[in-house]
Symmetry: C2
Subunit: 244 residues, 2 copies
C-alpha cells in the first residue's frame, strides 16, 4: 500500500464541484471511478480544495492509497485513459503515509478571469466572467493590494461557513489586463468559503465605480459583508496551484 499525491486539472462546467454528492456528479467521484477502472481497487480520494460547481482547476491536488503497482511516472497517462477529457491527471508522486492533501497545504493560488467588452466571449464563455462596463484597473489594483496581510476576513465569508476562525493570511493579490482579458490573482494560506468570489465581485464593482474605493479596508476593519460586492459567478475562477 502506498500513498499517492496526484495533481490534476479540470473544466468544472459539467460538474457539481469537487466534493462527492448524492444527486449530482462531482469531480472527486469521477476520479475515484476512474481509479477503480484502472486498478480494480475501491479508492477514496481527498482533495486539497472543495471547489464549487462550475469552478475550474489547473492544479488541484488530492491524495489516496493504492495497492496496484503502477510507477509514479506512468500513473497520470494510465489514469487519463480512463478519465473523461474534461479531467486530466498531470503528475503523481508517492509520498509518506501521513501526507494529507488538505491539512498539509501551506498556500493556494487562485485566478479569477474576466472578459471585459460589450459582447460576451464565445470560446471562453465557461471560463471567464463577462463584464460589459469599462473597468478602472488602477482602482482595482489598489483595492486588491489592501487584501495582503493577516486579517480577520469574516466579511469575505459566505453565510453558512463552518470555519472555526476567520483570520487568514493573504500573501499576494493583484490584477492584470491583457486586452479584453483581466485576471485577478491571489495567493493565501487557507481561503474561507466563497472568499475569492466575493473578492472578485468586489473588485469588479470598485472597477466600474458602483462601489467606492476603500471597500476592502472598510470590510476588513468592520467585518460587514454588506461593505463588499456581490459574489462573482463561479465560471471565472480557477484553482491554479496548491503549495506544500
Amino acid at each position: 500500500m502506498r500513498r499517492v499525491k496526484l495533481t490534476l486539472g479540470y473544466d468544472g462546467t459539467n460538474y457539481a464541484g469537487w466534493q462527492r454528492q448524492e444527486n449530482a456528479l462531482a469531480v472527486q467521484q469521477v476520479v475515484e471511478q476512474s481509479l477503480r477502472k484502472l486498478t480494480g481497487e475501491a479508492i477514496l480520494v481527498t482533495g486539497a480544495s472543495r471547489t464549487d460547481a462550475g469552478v475550474h482547476a489547473l492544479g488541484q491536488v488530492c491524495h489516496f492509497d493504492m495497492r496496484t503497482n503502477i510507477p509514479d511516472a506512468k500513473l497520470p497517462l494510465a489514469l487519463n485513459a480512463k478519465l473523461p477529457p474534461d479531467i486530466r491527471a498531470y503528475m503523481a508522486e508517492t509520498v509518506g503515509e501521513a501526507f494529507h492533501a488538505r491539512f498539509d497545504a501551506k498556500a493556494k493560488i487562485y485566478r479569477y478571469h474576466i472578459h471585459q467588452g460589450v459582447h460576451a466571449p464565445v470560446l471562453e464563455r465557461n471560463a471567464r466572467r463577462h463584464v460589459p462596463a469599462p473597468l478602472d484597473m488602477e482602482r482595482m489594483s489598489a483595492e486588491a493590494s489592501a487584501m495582503v496581510g493577516t486579517h480577520d476576513f469574516r466579511a469575505f465569508c459566505a453565510a453558512g461557513s463552518s470555519a472555526k476562525t476567520t483570520v487568514r493570511t493573504v500573501y499576494e493579490c493583484g490584477c492584470e489586463r491583457d486586452g479584453a482579458h483581466i485576471q485577478i490573482r491571489i495567493m493565501g494560506d487557507h481561503f474561507l468559503y466563497n472568499m475569492v468570489r466575493i473578492l472578485a465581485g468586489t473588485l469588479v464593482e470598485v472597477g466600474t465605480g458602483k462601489l467606492a474605493q476603500g471597500a476592502v479596508a472598510r470590510a476588513l476593519s468592520g467585518g460587514n459583508r454588506l461593505d463588499l460586492g456581490q459574489t462573482a459567478p463561479p465560471q471565472g475562477l480557477v484553482l491554479e496551484k496548491v503549495i506544500y
Copy 2:
C-alpha cells in the same frame, strides 16, 4: 428593405459547421432562426466562409436583407438576446444592396491553435489541437514562410473540392509560441477546402520530424497531396477575420 453586413463569432463545437444541413444543426440555421425570432421575417443569411463542423469563428461575416427597422448600433445586442451563448453577433452595418459576404471578400485570416505538452489541455480542449511530441518552431516557421506568394495549391486541396482553379495567393503565414500554446496564422485571398487544416497538419509533422523539411515547396511544385501531412482536426481552427 436594407442589406446588412453582420460580423459574428461562434464556438463550433456543437454545430455541423456554418452551412445549413438536412439532419444536423448548423450555425447559419441558428442565426436565421434568431433573426426570425427578432424580426418575424423569414431571413436567409449568406456567409463569407463555410466553416467545417467543429471549426470556430471570431470574425465570420454574413449578409442578409431585412425590413424591420432596428438601427445598426442596436442590432447585435438585440440579436444576441435571441442567439444561444455559443454564437455572438459583434457588429452590424447597413451596406449597398450589391454587397455579397463571400464574393466581395478580399482576404481572410485564419489561426490554428495547438497545445504542445504531455497532457491534453482541459479548458481549451475544444479549441486547440493537442500535440504531445516536442515541436521545432524554427522548422515550422521556415515551412510556413514557403506558403507565401501566388501558387497552385492543388496539393493542399481535399478530394471532392469543386474549385475551378487551385491558384491562390497567401499574403502572410507564420507560427508563434507562447509556452504550451502554438499558433499558426495565415492570411490569403480565397482558401481551398481544408487548405488551412492540411497546412496545420503538415507543419506539425515537420515540427516533430515525421516529415522532412521542404514538404511545402515540394507539394507546391509537384502538386502531390501525399507530400503533405495529415489534415489536422477541426477544433484548432478559428476564422479570425474577413477583409473587404
